[in-house]
Symmetry: C2
Subunit: 351 residues, 2 copies
C-alpha cells in the first residue's frame, strides 16, 4: 500500500471537539458499566476521565432505561458523550433528543428505510454526526467468508455509506476495526485512499492490558505515521482510565500530541535504594492530569540516575538515604525520602 | 537509514540459549530485589519466570554478598543467569567463577588494564559471553554533549569494543539503549550496519507499565522489522513478570515468535452480561505458561461475540445467564457461569 498523500479529511464536530481536517487526533474511551439509576459513580468517572485528558466518551445504550440515563448525563458532562446503538432506531432517537454529541449506529442494521430516515433526519436537525462502525467480527453474512477480510470490511462500510449518501447525510465518521492489527491497518489504508471521511481508529477486542496496548500501538503507528486516523480508541479489557492513558501516550510518543508528560523512569534493580515503583504509583495520578510538555525522570540510583535526571526538565534520583531533585539540569534540592513526593510536585508546578 | 540487508549476526551462547545468527529472538528480564540471604522468594520468582517463557534472567551484583547469592542461584536455576556489574572487576570474577551464563560489564569502567585482562580471560576460560551495555544516560564525559546522541552511543560502544578487540575476545553482545525510542532505534541502526555482533535491544528507563510498553513497542517494531535485534528486554517500572509478558507479546505480534497465545478479548461495555475482565484475570495466569500457537477469544455479548469466538481456535462468549464455548468454529458447549473457567481450560487442553 503506497503512502497516502496527506489529503485532509473533512471536519466533523463532536460537541466542541473537531475531528478530522488535520485537527489534533482526539482520544476516546467507553464507559464499561451499565447505565442505571445510580449514576453517581459514572458521574465521578466522567469527571476523572475529563481530568485525565479524555476528549470523547461513549456509552452503550441497549435499552430505554440506558437512554434515559444517557440523557441525564449529557446535561452536565464536561465531555461530549456518544451513544452506541445497535438495531433499535427508537433508542437512537431518544439519545439524539437527549443531547448525544454523536451516535454510533450502522444504518444497515436498523431495518426499514423509514426508520433510517427518521434517525438521519433527527441527527441532521441537531447537527450531530453519525459514526458508522464496521467490525471484522460482525460482518454481513455474505461478506463473512471473503478471503480478504480488510476488503470485506471496506465493502461493508461502503454499503452503509450508500444508505447515508442517498439521504444526503455527510456528517459521518467511519471506523473499520478488526481484532487483527494487520487487517485493521489494511482496511483503514484502503478506505482512506478512497474517501475523505474522518476515521476513528481502533483494534477491536485487542485483549487485556499488555497485549491490547501492544496490538493497538503497532496498528496506530502504521496508520498515524501516514496521517491516517483522526480520533483513536485503545480498546482494552481494562478500565477506561487506562484506555485514555494508553491513547494519550501513543499520540505523544508518535509526536501527534502537544503537551503531556514524557515519563522516564528506571525499572529498578538490586542496586536501588529509592523505591521508584512506589514513588511512581503515587506520582502518576498527579501526572495524568498534567498538560505540561515536559520530561520527568524518576531514577533509582547513581548509575544512570544523575544522567537521566539532569537530561530531563525535572528529575529525581535516589542517593544514599535521600533523593536529589534536578530542575533543568541543575540540582534543585536534596531531601530525605519522606516528603520527597510533595517537594518534587512543588518543583514540577514551578515549570 | 536504509534497510539493512539481512546479514546474520554472529551466534553467542548464553547458557543453552543461542543469541544471534537468526536464532529466535529471546526474551529477558531482570530481578528487581537485592540478592540477600533469604533467596526463597527469588527462587520462586525464577521458576515462575521460567514457566512464563522468560529465556534469560539478569541480576544486579553490586557487592560481594550479592555475588555469593548469585552463585548459589546459578546452581539450580532452570534459566541462564546473567550478572550485571559496574566498576568492580572482583565481582565479575566471583560471578564468572560462580556460574554466570553471561556477564554484563563495560571494560571501559573497570579501571586498570590488568583488571580488564583478568575478567576477559576468566570469561574466555569459562566460554561465556560479555555484554557491553551502552546507556544514553551514562555516556563518557567527552561524549555527553555531542549533538547526535545516537552517534555518541555508537562511539562509546566502539571504545569498549577496541579494548576487547585488543584482547582478542569475540563473544560479545552489545546493547545501545536510550530513554528516547527514536535515539535507541537510530543507535542500533548505525551499529548494525557496521558490526555483526548480536544486539540486545531495550529502551532504557522507558517508564511505568503503559508508557514503557508503548515506547518499547515502537522502538522494537522499527528495529525487528529490519531484522535488527537478537534478544530483547522490555524495561518497565513494573514487575519482571510483566516485562516478560510484554516482550513475548511484542515478538508474537510482530510474527517473530512461534507459539504463544493470541488473546482476543472485548473491552466490555454496558451490553455485557458476562464479566470478561474477571474471567480474564483468572484465565491469564494459565495462558502465560502456554506455548500453543492458538487464538483464544473471550467475548462479553452477542454483538461481536459469536463472530470473534467462531473465528478463534477456541472462544467463549456471554449469552444470557451462561456462556457458549466454541472450538474450531463449532459450538462445543453451553454452560452456566460457575464452572465456565474450568470447562474452558479443559477445551483449550484438547487443542
Amino acid at each position: 500500500m503506497k503512502k497516502r498523500e496527506s489529503k485532509p479529511t473533512q471536519v466533523v464536530k463532536v460537541g466542541q471537539v473537531l475531528v478530522g481536517g488535520g485537527f489534533p487526533v482526539s482520544v476516546q474511551t467507553m464507559g464499561k458499566q451499565p447505565l442505571t439509576n445510580d449514576l453517581d459513580d459514572i458521574r465521578r468517572q466522567i469527571r476523572e476521565l475529563h481530568r485525565r485528558g479524555c476528549d470523547i466518551l461513549r456509552f452503550s445504550v441497549p435499552d430505554e432505561e440506558s437512554a434515559r440515563c444517557f440523557s441525564l448525563l449529557t446535561r452536565e458532562s464536561p465531555l461530549p458523550l456518544v451513544a452506541d446503538i445497535h438495531f433499535d432506531h427508537k433508542l437512537a432517537l431518544l439519545c439524539i433528543e437527549g443531547g448525544a454529541a454523536k451516535i454510533r449506529i450502522n444504518p444497515g442494521n436498523i431495518g426499514a428505510s423509514w426508520k433510517v430516515e427518521e434517525v438521519v433526519k433527527a441527527a441532521a436537525d441537531k447537527g450531530i454526526p453519525i459514526r458508522v462502525g464496521v467490525n471484522g467480527g460482525s460482518l454481513p453474512g455474505d461478506l463473512r467468508n471473503r478471503p480478504d477480510k480488510a476488503e470485506a470490511m471496506v465493502e461493508a462500510a461502503e454499503r452503509e455509506l450508500a444508505i447515508l449518501d442517498k439521504l444526503n447525510f455527510q456528517q459521518v465518521i467511519f471506523s473499520l476495526k478488526a481484532s487483527d492489527p494487520e487487517e485493521t491497518v489494511k482496511a483503514n489504508e484502503i478506505f482512506s485512499l478512497k474517501y475523505n471521511f474522518p476515521l476513528h481508529l481502533g483494534v477491536t477486542e485487542a485483549g487485556p492490558l499488555i497485549p491490547g496496548i501492544i496490538k493497538s500501538t503497532l496498528a496506530f503507528q502504521k496508520l498515524l505515521s501516514q496521517n491516517i486516523g483522526d480520533t483513536i480508541r485503545v480498546s482494552l479489557s481494562d478500565s477506561p482510565e487506562r484506555e485514555v492513558e494508553a491513547g494519550k501516550e501513543i499520540l505523544r510518543s508518535l509526536g501527534k500530541k502537544n503537551g503531556g508528560v514524557n515519563l522516564v523512569s528506571c525499572p529498578r534493580c538490586g542496586r536501588s535504594t529509592f523505591d521508584t515503583h512506589a514513588f511512581l504509583a503515587r506520582l502518576e495520578n498527579y501526572l495524568q492530569g498534567l498538560e505540561k510538555d515536559i520530561t520527568v525522570a524518576v531514577m533509582g540510583c547513581v548509575v544512570n540516575g544523575p544522567g537521566e535526571a539532569r537530561g530531563a526538565d525535572i528529575g529525581i534520583t535516589g542517593a544514599g538515604d535521600g533523593v536529589i531533585i534536578y530542575r533543568r539540569g541543575e540540582i534543585a534540592d536534596k531531601v530525605p525520602l519522606s516528603g520527597a513526593l510533595e517537594r518534587f510536585i512543588e518543583e514540577i508546578e514551578k515549570l
